[in-house]
Amino acid sequence: MKHLISLQYFKIFLVSCLGFFCLSATTHASEVTISHYFSDEFGKENMGKVFDRFEAVTGFQMKESPVGHEDFKTDILVRGASDSLPDVFSYWAGARVQFVVDSGDLSPIDDMWADSGLDDVVAKAVADSATLYNGHRYLIPMQYHYSGMFYNKKVMADAGVTDMPTDWEGFMALCEKLKGMGIAPIALGSKFRWPAQFWFDYLILNTAGPEVRAAVMDGSAAYDSDEVMAAVGIWMDMVNNGYFVANANADTWTDASDKVANGEAAMTLMGTWITGYWNGNGLTPGEDYDFFPFPTINPDAPVSVVGPIDGLVISANVQNKEGAEAFLSFFVSDVDNQIEWTNAVGAVSANVNVDPSVYNDLIQRVITTVDGASNFAFNYDLATPPPVAEVGLSMFQELMENPDDYGAILSRAQDSAQSAFSE
């Protein structure tokens, strides 16, 4: 009898589980699913504010699944492989979006782009470089970042430096001076590899120019070509001269940022998201820290700036297309939303209707720097296909560890890159 009662309970339990599963699998018509990599407390809080504003205006409900920045790259692949991509997800404009577009996993947004009049909203340079893939619009820019030399103002003042260098000779003299004072001139946190890429990018752009750099990114120029060897040689000389902190491969980008903030190091080549991090830690832009553009090496090379553009895309298996398109349109078009979002994350809006005066003085100078450049380049791991980017990212770590072997390292990287391009 007791056995029978237990069996009855088990049946009820099974049916309940089935019912719960069916209920939880049901998606509401007004719900828009989204996955993004703004998963830390700060990012989630600000993303939540965006959702609140959007829901209040449109009545759609956002259902988010945030994933850590590094894990996101794998997570989105797994979801793509199992046809379970969310309606909307954040992604990095450039080669990564191109890769997903070529795989047929994204919905084009040409109609929404035209209906929302985004030609008059998104800055043309950004629209042309970041949103068009295979002749169609696929992405709206959430914001763009710029990578520059961010420095500790007090450290520089203590070193008697008031004017930041604009050319390479001045920059080398500054590094030598700081080193002589016992301060590590440059912090770099390449534990997760990508922070080192900005050195590779800027050195090639500033010595060989954007065309050679683009050729390296698409595989038509070699990693062990004379131009790349020369650019990397400059970098390795700096490593050998002791201008970088010790154990760069053991630090994350936040470790490197902390070293600059607390005066252990003087400066770091990093994106504008560092301002969001430092501001969140109580530092004041313009007072505690500032930035200067990467110094000129070859005056004949066009002025280039480097940075990523974070975007939002709609998956090909979107369940709520209307809601997804409404969210993308709102995110980039709504001026108040753009001001609040970009100010919070320390970035710049690609919306031409956002008045630059809403930003602090430092970000305004970033905008001036970007506007004055003749070339905006995506950073390395967004400019070359993902399989090749993996080769280069590991190469950067190896270069930092074995600067004297850079010729052999570049040759090996070329072999691996060639193989990856042929996949």
Partner: protein
Amino acid sequence: MEKSNWVWRVVFLAAPVAVFSLLVLWPLCSSFFYSFTNWNGFNPNYKFVGFDNYAKIITDRLFLNAIINTFIWMVSAILLPTLLGFGFALLIDSNVPGGKIFKSIFYLPICLSAVVVGQIWTWIYQPDWGLLNTLINFFLNESMNFAWLAKPDTSLGSVIVAWSWQQTGLSMVIYLAGLTSIPEELLEVCEIEGTSTWQKIRMVLVPLLTPATVVVIALSVINSLKGFDILYIMTGGGPFHSSDTLAMHMYNESFKKYLMGYGSAISVVLFLLALVIIRIYFRELKRIDEIYG
């Protein structure tokens, strides 16, 4: 009533069979299938490439590097916890003061997940303020900031130490259980005959603890084959592939380079390797079982 019971038996059996098929058999078959394709993980329009992925394995220097590291990892991950566990078990069994407390302390790490262990040891190895460098600096009066996990020569070894720290407690407890089953009279005879400690260990304890050793090695082999999480947390296979094992290499090729077909081929090789090791293990287990009953 009988029929109803039969139906429920099938229902109960169907659930684990379905779960096993879904989570083990199906992925296993999928891996075999995709290892013959150039699938990138996203694009459904993949092509069959025959044995190209397997041919690539032969020329892939990173695969060879991963094979060597896997060998080092497995040998170390089996030997270190086994030897240390045996040593600690002998010490605690010899009624050293505070033996029971040490037994609990040594066993504690096995209760932690590999992710937690990995994070703890990442902090211990931190070059600027980590415990290891701090202790070295304190005792040797030096200013050392060696980056244990960021140097290619020490990254894998550092993870092996962390792994052994976690696994030693399990081996120790199994050996302690084995030691309780050794007849007191035998040990008393050793005392009377005047055997040295080393002779007692070599001639009496080691042979009589063979069943415990079989269990310890079995668990070590299984756990070391699964040892991906701690490597992922502590080094991610880096710096520049110096701590890549086969599992790590497979993950990087599949999920970072988006070469799912090639990653599947590596996983098939890993599967076959595990199969060979398990086959050898079962053969030895049978032989030992015949000897010790």
